[in-house]
């Protein structure tokens, strides 16, 4: 017996993926959202304001934002040239450089922190300079830069490679020099990648824990960023679990706010689609 062939049905614009796949997809969404909901459910609203405005919380927040911004700035200064270099290298060189850049991404952050300690520590390779880096705020920034750089470089490099050489050639033919091409053509064309890379980079830097803990320590006001403060609070040393939850909520709200901000601002795409193309 042959069953009649039912042609696959698809609503216009939705494609032909089997509908039953919606079940694991929704499970995935639930898995990502439910833990955060559980966190919000444990917030002690009566003491929330007090927990957030405590000296330890505020100084951790300030330190996190400042070091996160500093690390992001460093990542931009060295990451943009690195992304350009990779995007314009021969395929083999590019693959090698990309692998090097990806290492901090797959490396446990603890190992990163330990490695930084062996480079910058008193008995490390750079110990002879007498430059006291470990367990200072500078160490926090370095640890964050180490783990966050791949996010910026890989996002930007992909965007530059995708936009290709044709527009740069056109600009060169019109008489633009290499700096003009970089500022007015290459980077604006890669702006979406640059933007999302920068946001991911900042988010990763602000959330950095493992490398910071090993390389910079946990000194309140100097190296105790939000994640370290949350860990300390959760372990009950000094402050309560309530403040750990309050601090986590703050980090959560901050990251969602950053995401919404980025969604609302899309350079170049702003006025593109509305009436004409619909």
């Amino acid at each position: 017996m042959t069953r009649p062939v039912v042609p696959p049905r698809a609503s216009p614009g939705r494609g032909y993926a089997p509908r039953v796949l919606a079940i694991p997809a929704l499970l995935g969404v639930a898995f990502l959202v439910l833990p955060l909901a559980a966190l919000v459910g444990r917030v002690q609203w009566s003491t929330l304001w007090q927990d957030i405005t405590s000296t330890a919380a505020l100084s951790a927040l300030r330190l996190s934002v400042l070091t996160g911004l500093a690390a992001t700035a460093i990542c931009l200064v060295i990451g943009i040239p690195l992304a350009l270099l990779i995007a314009r290298s021969a395929p083999r060189t590019a693959a090698l450089l990309r692998a090097v850049v990806t290492v901090p991404l797959v490396l446990p952050p603890m190992v990163g922190g330990l490695s930084l300690l062996f480079l910058f520590g008193r008995s490390g390779w750079l110990g002879w300079t007498g430059w006291q880096v470990p367990f200072t705020t500078v160490a926090v920034v370095l640890a964050q830069t180490f783990v966050a750089l791949p996010f910026l470089v890989l996002a930007l490099e992909g965007a530059i490679r995708t936009s290709g050489l044709d527009y740069e050639r056109t600009a060169a033919g019109l008489g633009a020099g290499s700096w003009t091409i970089l500022w007015r053509v290459t980077l604006p064309l890669a702006a979406p990648g640059l933007l999302s890379g920068t946001v991911l980079c900042f988010a990763r830097a602000a959330g950095e824990f493992g490398a910071t803990a090993l390389f910079a320590g946990n000194a309140p006001g100097v190296t105790q960023t939000m994640p370290l403060a949350i860990y300390t609070a959760f372990n009950g040393a000094g402050v309560s679990q309530g403040s750990a939850i309050a601090l986590s909520l703050m980090l959560l709200v901050t990251s969602v706010a950053v995401l919404l901000l980025v969604r609302g601002w899309r350079p170049g795409r702003a006025a593109a689609a509305p009436e004409e193309l619909r």
Partner: protein, 295 residues
């Protein structure tokens, strides 16, 4: 706007393919370059633009060598040669006005003057109202007009056009053809095209490039009326004919071992098969002038 004297001997090797051609254009002269696909037209233009290295020979503008095989390679910025291809390649993040002003701005023309000049160009190309639009909100023909204005706004010493009308529908292409006829005067131009009508309408001279060599060179009408190669002969038949009684429309095309077989229908609804060399510029729907010996 003054074009340069272009003088080039070009030899490029790409695997088994060798391009070996000399190119000479007086200041302000318009050359049409025709040839089957793969003959080396785009490579030739790429050499003059500076994107393809030479194996031997040199490219000279007004007697000054801008590129040779020994390593002289004047950067595009100083060379003043602009290549405009099938794709307009307008910068998607800039408005039409900013696109046209890009070249002058790169040459340090003050912002207000560059923008005023760009507005004048927008008026000349018939898009005075669309200066604030980004390319995504312009039609293909409008984009190609802006790209042409952007190229001409820098007063190029040589303008290279690589099939600029090929991706446009016939009516739009006609509009741009008229624009080219009006605006190219005084500019030295080399234009690769598949359409013999372009050569007749726009060019002072027609060069035919086959398998990397120039096989014909002269005024378009002369080259097409006295074809020296099978390709040129096939080309001549695609010119809107002087003898309408013998015009036929190509209905279908098949590839054969030694070329193509075109099934045509004449005005009196009779069918014939024509054998033409591979790469003949015929597509289904083309009007072909056929002569008795072909039948």
């Amino acid at each position: 706007m003054t074009g340069a004297l272009l003088d080039a001997e070009i030899r490029v090797d790409r695997g088994a393919f060798t391009l070996d051609a000399a190119l000479h254009a007086e200041p302000g002269e318009i050359l049409a370059l025709m040839g089957p696909s793969g003959a080396g037209k785009s490579t030739l233009l790429g050499v003059v633009a500076g994107f393809v290295p030479l194996r031997a020979g040199a490219v000279r503008l007004d007697g000054e060598t801008v590129q040779d095989a020994a390593g002289i390679d004047v950067r595009p910025r100083e060379r003043g040669v602009i290549l405009l291809g099938q794709q307009p390649r307008l910068f998607p993040h800039l408005t039409a006005r900013e696109n046209i002003a890009f070249g002058p701005r790169a040459h340090r023309v003050p912002k207000t003057r560059a923008r005023a000049d760009a507005d004048a160009w927008l008026a000349r190309i018939g898009l005075a109202d669309l200066g604030d639009r980004r390319p995504a909100r312009l039609s293909g023909g409008q984009q190609q007009r802006v790209a042409l204005a952007r190229a001409l706004a820098t007063s190029p010493r040589v303008l290279l056009l690589d099939e600029p009308l090929a991706s446009l529908d016939p009516a739009t292409a006609d509009g741009i053809r008229t624009l080219l006829r009006d605006e190219l005067a005084g500019t030295t131009v080399v234009m690769a095209t598949h359409d013999a009508a372009d050569a007749i309408a726009l060019a002072d001279r027609l060069l035919v490039l086959e398998s990397g060599r120039i096989t014909a060179d002269g005024p378009p009408a002369t080259v097409l009326s006295a074809p020296g190669t099978a390709f040129t002969a096939a080309l001549a038949r695609t010119v809107p004919g002087a003898d309408p009684a013998w015009q036929a429309r190509a209905e279908s095309i098949e590839e054969t071992a030694d070329g193509i077989r075109v099934h045509v229908r004449t005005a009196d609804s009779r069918f014939h098969d024509l054998r033409l060399p591979a790469g003949s510029p015929v597509v289904p729907g083309s009007l072909i002038s056929i002569h008795p010996p072909t039948l």
